[in-house]
Symmetry: C2
Subunit: 431 residues, 2 copies
Amino acid sequence: MSVRLDETHDPARTSWVEGANRHPQFPIQNLPFGIFSPPGHGPRAGVAIGDHVLDIKEIVELLPPEVVDAVSQRSLNRLFALGSEARVALRRKISAILSDPSWSERLGHALFRTADCTLHLPSTIGDYTDFYVGIHHAENVGRQFRPENPLLPNYKWVPIGYHGRASSIRPSGEPVRRPQGQSKAHDSDTPSFGPCQRLDYELEMGIWVGPGNDLGQPIPIGEAHEHIVGLTLLNDWSARDVQAWEYQPLGPFLSKSFHSTISPWVVTMEALAPFRTAQPPRPQGDPAPLPYLNDAADQASGAFSIELEVLISSETMRKAGQPPLRLSRGPATSMYWTVAQIVTHHASNGCNLQPGDLLGTGTLSGPELDQRGSLLELSEGGKTPIILPTGQERRFLEDGDELTIAATARAGDAIPIGFGPCTARILPALP
Amino acid sequence: MSVRLDETHDPARTSWVEGANRHPQFPIQNLPFGIFSPPGHGPRAGVAIGDHVLDIKEIVELLPPEVVDAVSQRSLNRLFALGSEARVALRRKISAILSDPSWSERLGHALFRTADCTLHLPSTIGDYTDFYVGIHHAENVGRQFRPENPLLPNYKWVPIGYHGRASSIRPSGEPVRRPQGQSKAHDSDTPSFGPCQRLDYELEMGIWVGPGNDLGQPIPIGEAHEHIVGLTLLNDWSARDVQAWEYQPLGPFLSKSFHSTISPWVVTMEALAPFRTAQPPRPQGDPAPLPYLNDAADQASGAFSIELEVLISSETMRKAGQPPLRLSRGPATSMYWTVAQIVTHHASNGCNLQPGDLLGTGTLSGPELDQRGSLLELSEGGKTPIILPTGQERRFLEDGDELTIAATARAGDAIPIGFGPCTARILPALP
């Protein structure tokens, strides 16, 4: 497992880029990769530093040929395919350049204000899979859909997941059209088709897949981390009324596939190395993971000290100049399975993971009420409304609502790093 | 709906290509598209004619520029994106050339024996969705998983579907590695991990998506056919023991994602025009489709007169020189929903379908025992074995078994057309 720290993690390292030092999201200790378009130009690979983006194209003369090819595409799939060694070398090079003031003049033209740029999806996502490893979410939601058995017998043995829709994943900022769909009211004998009445968000993290495996060749748990490039924030928008009616027996489908929002920056495993922590011990009485998912090193450092939060603002709030309201805040350690266990389980049947694939964790709710990662949980299925500062009630999302997921990794002396925003606003359903 | 017949459907039309006339699969009335590699050369677009493939590259001087670009790629995604008008024009041009003997000398070098070529996937499949429209299958399987309610209340309202795995779809001929996975025996308290013990096939058809829709923009039922390029055969290999343990609450996952096999030729909607037939009326008492799925023209001609069959041969049978055994034969009209309803429902929430996406129908079983499209159904969950000509029993698939799905479209005076084979052999699990 690549948990070695090097000079790129040194809390004393600073950057000559204006405003980068102690930047709450993107200090020089972070250096996330992404695809961006500078004003008037096409998509290219970049690295976030403070409130700026470095165009990697401008430093290719310093890089080995296979990395030059990988960072010269309109997506990061080839960079993801290279694996950690090349990625670490690239990170160290960029960190050295951005910390050495002698580069400041030479690279001035390669830095763009992020606010002036368009941010794209970092990769062409071949397949998207969504897991269900937030055990408190599984319990909260299970209780609403199946009061008699909220957590099914397989939950503590199988990292439950399902295939999601790749084509409708969009970067932060793109508005979400309220979907139409079939639903059936409890007091009706027949379903009807119309705009979703119970539109919700889901607070998740996403895992970017690296080199991956050939079809038929599993990924042993001890090698799983080599296939993870980094993490992102993910909002798995959900149409709860559609979901309740459609999900049996094959799982959620149109209730999820209308849109998913991700934060566009790939926060790498290298950047996250200082924030690794032990996977919380399983509650007494829970089974140990089966051997193919059980690895001492993974249990010792396979979780992350990341704090997640969700903010909402309604149109009325924004017009009144009010700041967004925090809906929840909680730790990413509420995952019952580690990211390595997710990857190994996914490939355990020989299913081939490919560079640029995205894996969602599933909704990450903590055990407390103010740590719940969806409105379905916060409003207890619509029974208990959230009161906004304007006095408005929210059981589910209304048109014009803007939802933001944010996260910060913090641990000991390490400089905290963030993920950038994962934000989108709800547009009314088509007439 | 494009059900017009033209000269390419004329039963009297013949081809100068040797062996093409009255070819059981690929007479000149079929002309399916695919991607193939001639001996010693790279992948390119081709058309099957009899036992040969025509390299489309060799006729590009006869085609308009946007079609030249579309057929000059290593996948057919751009051709699929063009829509039916361009596809019909291309079909008519190829039909004219292959029926006019004056072209025989000039095009001799552009024809390759199919047996000498490698056939690839026709498109880069962005997303793969599998439906569940075979109502007899849903009833047969539902009875085994949920004896008390085989057909759930949503079945006759919602074209049930779920996202599948795109990366593990392979063309006919590639062997299938028996997957490992978690399963739990009925008499055990805990699951175990190991090679699948209940490996099965599923007889399906696949739908190739054409131009598709933008995110947020549904496809009205009256326009659905414009977004369907053609059909293919699909074997949705299934690990039944893994499926039974993992599938709740989010649906089948690793029990399906280890491999799916398709026939590599895209039999176009144009080739299938003579075989269109009325969607069978719903049984008395069933609800009418909701308005967004209800279209008189679709009900009148949205189904296809296609006969499907499944053949098996064991290693012992092949060594003894015995021909494959037919496991089932049945009509494709056992679909409760039409392909147009599948497409419209999929996009009804605004989910964007893209050129080259693949949609599976789900297992197509007929009402009779010898029309069942999986071993799970034929052996009644493993209770009643199939007896092979060698005396071997089959409840589920054994290593070395070879499974073939085949299909023929027949109607009135039209020359019958086929789909080519959808075949694969089972390799033992990794040690």
